[in-house]
């Protein structure tokens, strides 16, 4: 269970990146083994200002500007983590993880199992479909979540960003920490330094009575819009934010399926092979008799993402496509 904030937030209405800074700062104060490495972290504090000011506060030994060497960046994090530090490797965009796949999937994920070692490592990156074209809009959530040894956080609010990064920095596992481009601007409350969000605990972010949408990340914003429209039409939709993709909150998923029997699973990754397949398949296998009809998946097109804004939008779920899916499950 998530713990309620114990005191008022210190940063007034911070944005998504400031929430990250806040969590990282608190943990860096407490644990001298935490350091950050990535490109362009010192002056601008990273492309999304996610570590802005931290180099100035903690010094250049604890915020290290790296060359464009993703394999070495992750390897540096892996080796230092094995040695007893708790590095945060900031990959900037998650797409750049392609240059460090062996380090992440074959090394970091397996060392605990193979070599009697811990790998307390956070790999942070900005993810999600937005402008910028195909090379910067890969959805890799399913890849990471399906790799034994990795955990994956996909926070959708400043509160969750802070609560999850703090948990990641107290644990001893390699964590992929994905922050969605299109959530950069959102603001909200954050909790104080004693608030930790456990991995594997989903959260209901909208209560409803007729059907449930299970999702995460930016798709929740679209889902909320769809739910509002549906509300006006008399359909009451619950929305569940998974918050982490591994571990998955199976309990919350099973409960929701049992309660509603009408289930939509949503994300923006190309649908074929996305994490929504895992969620739908397992939820169906476990709760078949509770389903009023098949779980409906809503996902992205099987297409690279175009730079043209309208084409980019057309490749991911829209309010309309979500409404259609909900109506589909309501038709059972």
């Amino acid at each position: 269970m998530t713990t309620a904030p114990t005191t008022a937030p210190k940063v007034q209405n911070p944005n998504y990146s400031e929430a990250f800074q806040s969590g990282v700062r608190e943990e860096m104060k407490r644990n001298p083994g935490i350091f950050i490495l990535g490109t362009d972290l010192i002056e601008r504090g990273g492309h999304f200002a996610q570590v802005k000011g931290i180099a100035q506060e903690f010094g250049h030994e604890r915020v290290k500007d790296s060359p464009i060497s993703e394999a070495a960046m992750v390897a540096a994090g892996v080796g230092a983590a094995m040695y007893g530090c708790h590095p945060i490797v900031d990959l900037n965009f998650i797409d750049f993880a392609f240059g460090a796949m062996d380090e992440i999937l074959n090394q970091a994920a397996k060392i605990r199992f193979m070599f009697n070692g811990k790998v307390p490592l956070v790999i942070r990156a900005t993810s999600g479909v937005a402008l910028g074209g195909a090379h910067h809009c890969n959805s890799l959530e399913s890849l990471f979540a399906s790799t034994p040894g990795l955990s994956v956080a996909v926070p959708s609010t400043p509160m969750d960003v802070k609560g999850l990064i703090k948990t990641a920095l107290r644990a001893e596992d390699p964590v992929i920490f994905l922050m969605h481009k299109k959530l950069s601007g959102i603001r909200g409350e954050i909790a104080d330094e004693n608030y930790f969000i456990p991995f594997g605990k989903a959260k209901s972010i909208r209560t409803g009575t007729d059907a449930v949408i299970i999702s995460y990340g930016y798709s929740l914003v679209t889902a909320q819009k769809a739910a509002q429209t549906l509300e006006a039409e008399g359909v009451s939709v619950e929305i569940i934010d998974l918050r982490t993709l591994y571990p998955l909150d199976e309990q919350a998923i099973n409960d929701a399926v049992k309660k509603f029997g009408r289930v939509v699973v949503l994300d923006e990754a190309p649908m074929f092979g996305s994490i929504t397949a895992e969620i739908a398949a397992t939820a169906t296998e476990r709760n078949f008799s509770s389903l009023k009809g098949p779980i409906v998946r809503v996902g992205g097109a099987r297409a690279p993402i175009s730079a043209n804004p309208a084409m980019a939008d057309a490749a991911i779920p829209t309010v309309a496509s979500i409404i259609k899916a909900v109506k589909q499950v309501m038709s059972y």
């Binding site: 490109t39 362009d40 010192i42 002056e43 601008r44 500007d65 790296s66 060359p67 464009i68 060497s69 993703e70 394999a71 070495a72 797409d95 750049f96 392609f98 240059g99 402008l131 910028g132 074209g133 195909a134 090379h135 910067h136 097109a301 099987r302 297409a303 690279p304 175009s306 730079a307 043209n308 804004p309 309208a310 084409m311 057309a314 490749a315």
Partner: protein, 328 residues
């Protein structure tokens, strides 16, 4: 440096002017929200693009980086089709799918700008292998930034080109910064030609602000490649006048540094002086050239602005050929 004939020289100058005007115009349009997803301005680096491309044949192949307007213009694509691409219109070189960072047309020997640092050099190396396999008399040029010098696969590609003697020219468009990171701060050893020589590649550190110097080294590299003597590495020192991406400034370099490069090394000013000195043009001719360039870019903007948006239903086109499933 021996100067080419008048027509060629004026062509080089005009091409550099086109790039500069294009970039400064696009920059302003981008700030006004016309260019989707930002743009990487190459102002200051014109001599690299024009020097390299003027030394190539039209059917030679290039593959480049996220900062590629200048290379693409110099390769002979029109201001119209590149401006339209920045506006992500259907008339753009990539049909609006690419915007600033992903200019390309494989069928015309432009193997793409690239969102990924280091990727272009690998693809160019592959194209060079294709050229060698087919026995064609062409070369392939891979552009890369100074930031890409620390990306491992760059050196895999360099090594492979050496051992297979591929007709590849690696050109470092070395503007000395990767976003806000000074090349000297993250690049062990410092001497990039020496790095490349460590892999057995013929390598040169040259002045990337001098279009004739760039042209000369690339011409020679091309000759060697066509003669079967293998690849070359050309590190062209240059400077980026604007921020990494449109609208960015940052404290990572001084205004004085920027001003010094602009006032003492500008490739267009420098080559304008050379052209005048050689009697190829007087100030009036230069002014006229600049005006015609202005008109060309204005026209490109108008063209882009008037161009239709792509049909969004086409996002499902060209993913794969669909032919694998067909009985052959």
């Amino acid at each position: 440096m021996t100067i080419p004939d008048k027509k060629t020289s004026l062509g080089l100058l005009r091409q550099m002017m086109v790039i500069r005007d294009f970039e400064e115009t696009a920059d302003k349009l981008s700030l006004r929200g016309k260019v989707s997803g930002g743009m990487h301005n190459s102002s200051g680096q014109e001599a690299v693009a024009v020097g390299v491309l003027s030394a190539l044949a039209p059917l030679d192949v290039i593959a480049t980086t996220h900062r590629s307007h200048h290379h693409t213009l110099a390769k002979g694509f029109t201001s119209r089709e590149i401006m339209a691409e920045l506006f992500t219109r259907s008339t753009g070189i990539s049909g609006g799918r690419g915007a600033s960072m992903h200019l390309g047309d494989v069928t015309k020997g432009h193997f793409g700008g690239n969102g990924i640092v280091g990727a272009g050099v690998g693809i160019a190396m592959g194209a060079a292998l294709g050229i060698q396999q087919k026995g064609d008399k062409k070369v392939s040029v891979g552009f890369i930034g100074d930031g890409g010098m620390n990306t491992g696969r760059t050196w895999e590609a360099v090594n492979m080109a050496v051992i297979w003697k591929l007709p590849l020219i690696v050109v470092v468009d070395n503007n000395q910064y990767a976003v806000e990171t000074f090349v000297g701060r993250v690049t062990g050893g410092g001497d990039l030609a020496k790095r490349a020589e460590g892999f057995g590649m013929k390598a040169f550190n040259i002045d990337g602000m001098d279009v004739l110097e760039v042209r000369k080294y690339v011409s020679e590299a091309r000759e060697r490649a066509l003669a079967g003597e293998g690849p070359s590495f050309i590190n062209a020192l240059t400077y980026r006048y604007y921020g990494h991406n449109v609208g960015e400034k940052g404290q990572y370099r001084t205004q004085e540094e920027i001003d010094t490069w602009k006032s003492t090394k500008d490739p267009i000013d420098h080559f304008t002086a050379v052209v005048i000195e050689n009697g190829y043009a007087d100030q009036a001719a230069i002014d006229e050239m600049r005006a015609s360039v202005r008109a060309e870019i204005e026209d490109a903007v108008a063209f882009a602005d008037a161009s239709p948006e792509p049909d969004i239903s086409t996002i499902y086109d060209d993913i794969d050929s669909g032919k694998l499933g067909v009985q052959l």
